[in-house]
Amino acid sequence: MRSRLPRIFLADFKMRALRFALRNLWRDLKSGEMSVLLLALTVAVLSLTAVGFFTSRIGQGVRAQAAEVLAADLRIESSSPLPARYFTQGRTLGLATAQVESFPTAIFNGEKSQLAAVHAVTSSYPLRGKLRIADSPFGVARSTDHIPKPGTVWLDARIVAQLELSMGNAVRIGATTLRLTQVLDYRPDQGTGFVNLAPAALLNEADIAATQLIAPGSRVTYSALFAGTPQSVAALHDYLVLNKAAGERLREVEESSRQLNSAIDRASRFLNLANLASVLLAAVAVAMGARRYAARHIETVALMKCMGAAQGLVLSISLIELSVLAIFAVLAGAALGYLGQWGLVWLLHGLIQGALPAPSFAPVVIALVTVLAMLVGFALPPLLQLKNTPPIRVLRKSVDSAPLRYGLSYGLSLAALAAILWALVRDVELVASVFLGVLGVGAVLALAGFGLVRITGRLRGGVGVAWRYGLANVSRRGAGSVVQIVAFGTGLMVLLLLAVVRNDLLADWRRSLPSDVPNNFLINIRPEERQPLNQFLQVHGLGQPAMYPMIRARITAINGVPSEALKITGDVARGYLEREQNLTWAADLMQDNQLMAGRWWTPQDFGKALVSVSSEYQEALHLKLGDRLSFDIAGESLKVEVVSIRKVRWDSFRPNFFMVFPPGLLDGAAGTYMTSVYLTPDKRPALARLVREFPTVSVFDVDAILSQIRAIMDRASLAVQYVFLFTLVAGVIVLLAAVQATRDERRYESAILRTLGASRRTVLQGVAAEFGALGFLSGTLAAVGATSIGWLLAHRLFSLEYRFNPYIWILGLVCGTLLVGLAGTLATRRVVNTPPIVSLRED
């Protein structure tokens, strides 16, 4: 019996707290006390879930497009036939499969011949993306779902032009004769590197035996292609990693295309940035809302304690109330978020190919954890203070509970938020820059706010009564004004920052891929062809692009350790070591290259044994400045020292190289040159002539990948604008929270002023002056903050040129003054309109 008593008491206590909490919550909701908190939490959840749901779906969609580059979701390649069990395993997992056999051979039309890369494919090829064919060389291309029928072949326009073929002509490949039925314009897996230099011939796998070209010792690449659900692909990936033999190379979507990956990476950064901004703004609103909640409840708590309420009961009531609010916000926010992502899907329906997979529900869990972190970090401190309200406050209003140390709790919850956002974004640099940026600017805002508030106080001598009252209020409220400036300023800054990101960064990104970006690479230009080719390009109006020497070479040792003996793992790194790489030399740092470490050479260094490596290469092979690399260049050995590391913008579509040497070192070794040109559709026929006049020059068309990247850019900017709406709502809520924070004080002041004879108009003008001044001050500081963080983001994260945008300042100042002035005045209007006696009596 004795042991049951405390339990009954506890249950009783919980029930009482629950009853009080639910009733309080209902009343607070009815009276609008909780509106800011509820709105802020709901918007945070809405933003997190809508973006989460959407990115989980679009991620799959974009991935599917990226998969085009492999013509599959997963691809394994080998120089020997692949075991049948790979296909069996793939089919068991429900995956679609296809097979490709590629090898170089000569194709004959009578006596004329042309080297070609033959690809023999099975009927399901390609599993991702579509083949494109045309009826004449360099003619208008169309997509097809078929592959060449047995007995027929599709040839690259260069082969057709070189062999002077017409549709229906027969060509000889090995021991068989095939009929040309289409010009092959594009294969999804034709690659964006310069591996497949020879023009392609596509034929049916059924014809391969008849060619008799596959025999022991022939240079064949066997590829197995798989596509299906992400789970099945992942399962097969794990299986292949465990079972693949040495020499078999697994190719995944992520590493399939450097350019595409770079674009996708940027797209998700833009989206996450908008998301991050919404959550941070919501956190600011929650902090302000919770402080107001505590301030509004302090009298009630003092009274309840006077009547015998224990601290535990007071805290329990607040906690239950907030928990119920959080659950409500998560449910409402997630439901809205789900609808929101449908809006996004609808908005982008034309751009996304195929059906999108269902969203995962992980974002709801993340949203719940985020809301809890926000509440515990930003709402709990004022509630703890509320719990400590001394009951004597019922007699003396001046008595406050001991001030809590908000710093620690805010710090902890910011850390928790950062951790959650990191889990979401997986990008330390992005989270760190935005957090440090916002915190730094917050601190600067507070400092500058203090200064401005003091100056404003001095200004009030020379203005009219309404302005004097307004400006006097700004300076009299001191710390309160600074808090408001920080809140308004942070809100405006994040909004301006997004405006920068949305307009400037997206525009810069688009500008980085202008409509006249080179869409054709010309490779294999012999030294003696440079001059005539230049003339040809000029005659045909194709400009005079820079020509880069190209040397094929393989790394043989790093710091004297032979590459076979190096303990370097990973397919990418092994690939760098095992395959020949394209090297070049250049006097100047190339456009789209940024020096990350070391120094670029001066004319005095020309001819010295130095090399500059790209960051990908440096990371994969763990290189550092001063390392010595040995190369095998056409049988000659060369030792060079790493003197610089470059970050290369691979999505710029200009010739770029992993390794660059100073001029004068390899002059004798230059095999060929390369360049790139931009061809408008009407100038495409010039290509046929170029191929005929310069038979050894290879033309490499990257139009398809360019349009893929442009589609991603368009999608990203649309999506960012959509997500920007949530941030805008969060910003408005911060504004609302900041206005609400001083509402009670204003109500009383307005009543006093009106009692003393001030007209409603004068009081309202004073309020407008105060909010206008606050808006102007926050707008100024927000513009400074947005410009600095925008510059930082452009440079550090997006590798883009940041251009100073004066509109940000105009927008900041005008919008700040108008938005804050208008919103503040409108929100306070009701307070001013309340008859003074009502306000005074309520106080």
Binding site: D12, R16, D28, M307, G308, A310, V394
Partner: protein
């Protein structure tokens, strides 16, 4: 001394101020018997409200001891003192202190609900009937006049049948006539419930209605408490 409901032994209150420590109340000793009515009087700043806060356990003395209904408050935590207040004490304030978001009956129900009384609504309705506010039970404080608000506050103070009722300038915010009626009500309920009434006032006429006066001057008791009646 068995029927002592309130006892303060040599209590002092000192607070820190920019000019050094400031003694608001110095060495006050006071005993109140059950059913007694006591008026604490004195000029503004004499320490009346401080004494009331200490006697009611709303604040702790710097030195000295206070006990309510035989329970020594200095031995208790804040929650312990809250429990004593909940069981034995009622309050009426100058500014009424009604919760604006609660109706009249909900305001009166609050202390009963805090004490987990199941008959809270019925008891509150009865208390409001006693102060003549049955037609106003569903009204919010801002819909009530000052006198009505104070009557709600009195109903709330008496509804738990407290051993001691503390009133801090109960007529301070009311006009003379309304104040007079509120006083009548206060004393009538005090008589009918048999509770002890301790009120702080600077209104000599109101003080005169109490059985005993306790005068303070600059934190000191002016003279031994005079017995005016019974």
């Amino acid at each position: 001394m068995k029927d002592l409901v309130l006892h303060a032994q040599n209590i002092s209150k000192t607070v820190a101020s920019p000019e050094g420590s400031l003694t608001i109340l110095a060495d006050v000793t006071l005993s109140v018997r059950a059913g007694e009515t006591l008026a604490i009087v004195g000029a503004s700043g004499a320490g009346k409200s401080t004494l009331l806060a200490l006697l009611a356990g709303l604040d702790s003395p710097t030195t000295g001891r206070v006990s309510i209904a035989g329970v020594e408050l200095s031995m208790l935590s804040e929650d312990g003192r809250a429990a004593v207040r909940g069981r034995h004490v009622g309050f009426v304030f100058q500014s009424f202190h009604l919760i604006p978001s609660l109706t009249a009956i909900e305001n009166v129900m609050l202390p009963l609900e805090l004490a987990n009384r199941r008959d809270a609504r019925a008891a509150a309705a009865q208390a409001l009937a006693q102060v003549g506010l049955t037609p106003r039970v569903g009204h919010y404080p801002k819909q009530l006049s000052g006198g009505e608000q104070q009557r709600v506050a009195i109903a709330r103070a008496f509804v738990t049948h407290p051993a001691v009722l503390f009133a801090d300038e109960p007529t301070g915010n009311l006009d003379t006539t309304t104040g007079q009626r509120i006083c009548d009500l206060l004393f009538e309920l005090n008589r009918s419930t048999g509770s002890t009434l301790v009120l702080v006032t600077h209104d000599r006429a109101l003080a005169a209605r109490c059985g005993r006066l306790f005068e303070l001057d600059a934190g000191h008791a002016v003279a031994p408490a005079a017995h005016l009646s019974g």
